[in-house]
Amino acid sequence: MRLLELFRRQPPSAQVAKERLRIIVAQERSARGGPDYLPLLRRELLEVIRRYFNIDADAVHVNLDRAQGHDVLELSVALPETGAAPDLTRRAR
């Protein structure tokens, strides 16, 4: 630790690594064991919704819940605050 670094406080990079890993590992674990088509379904949904809204890649959540006797496919799409109006130029295509 050099003298200057004593006064410069950034979050240690190891902590950043740990936080990033915690999130991605949890996300990948939750997708594990689910049917293989879920990621594809999510990607295709994203493509369709993007024809109307300008949304981020992580705005679409697809989740399959197994309850007794029936499965529930849960979709949630977070729309952008400003871009709620459909983008008509792209829709016309």
């Binding site: 630790m1 004593l6 240690p12 190891a14 690594a17 890993l21 590992v25 990948e28 594990r32």
Partner: protein, 270 residues
């Protein structure tokens, strides 16, 4: 009873072969009868790390194809009499390994009275890696304290929990251990490297060993001596501790703390 142990990681270059060689030697040195098998078909390397590359006549695929007996293909270690190496083949044929063939070799090793079979997995999640883990009772997951290695290991943990015989048959699953390599207590102390605790927390595994970063690993591999046999190196001690833990002994972790430095040493960054 033969125990099958896979050394795996997902990511390449993290120390699977170094670990396989040292764990095999460590177990053999404690009187166990051990066979260590290279599953990296097409990219044989365990023979170099074990220092027996010039004695390879027959390999794993030859045995599976019935071109020689298992006894002919097993290379007896020159340093430890109850240690044997089965080399990978250099064939480019990806389908050279079959589940039935691998099972036949493992069954024969068990019938021959081996205590441990160490399966040195190739990197990746292809066939070689799949077959290396499929019959395992235990898994040593080798991880560097670095983001891509940790993430890939978690992927491997998912496969161990689903694509192994123990998982499919539902008899308790594969017993998994974490082995951290290239650990630098100094960089952990300065916050540049994730600690043992961090990695353990993310992956949720028990730690069977922490191997410090050291130049000794390269010099040992240059010479074809498994690093555990270099008694003057702290890496050797760390692997010896890991072997003891695998055998159920309780040994405290060593070489995970940076020795405390004085005020002036820290101030001027020596």
């Amino acid at each position: 009873m033969t125990e099958i142990m896979v050394v795996t990681s997902g990511k390449g270059g993290v120390g699977k072969t170094t670990t396989s060689a040292s764990i095999a030697c460590g177990l053999a040195r404690r009187g166990k009868r051990v066979a260590v098998i290279d599953f990296d078909i097409g990219l044989r390397n365990l023979d170099l790390i074990m220092g027996c590359e010039r004695r390879v006549v027959y390999d794993f695929v030859n045995v599976i194809h019935g071109e020689c007996t298992l006894r002919q293909a097993l290379i007896r270690d020159k340093r430890l009499e109850n240690l044997y190496v089965l080399a990978a083949s250099q064939t480019r044929d990806k389908d050279a390994l079959t589940a039935e063939g691998v099972q036949r070799v493992l069954d024969e090793l068990a019938a021959d009275g081996f205590d441990y079979v160490i399966c040195d997995s190739p990197a990746g999640i292809e066939k070689g890696a799949h077959l290396a883990m499929y019959f395992a009772d235990r898994a040593i997951v080798v991880v560097n304290p670095e983001v891509s290695s940790v993430r890939d290991s978690d992927r491997i943990l998912g496969l161990l929990a689903s694509k192994t015989m123990r998982a499919e048959k539902g008899n308790g699953g594969v017993h998994e251990h974490l082995l951290l390599t290239r650990y630098s207590p100094r960089r952990v102390a300065t916050g540049e490297m994730m600690s043992v605790g961090d990695v353990k927390e993310i992956l949720g595994l028990d730690v069977v060993g922490v191997i410090p970063e050291s130049n000794d690993v390269l010099t040992a591999s240059n010479a074809g001596t498994p690093i555990i046999l270099r008694e003057d190196s702290i890496v050797s001690h760390a692997y010896e501790d890991a072997v003891a833990r695998l055998l159920g002994e309780s040994v405290p972790l060593r070489y995970v703390e940076e020795p405390r430095r004085g005020f002036f040493a820290r101030l001027f960054g020596t």
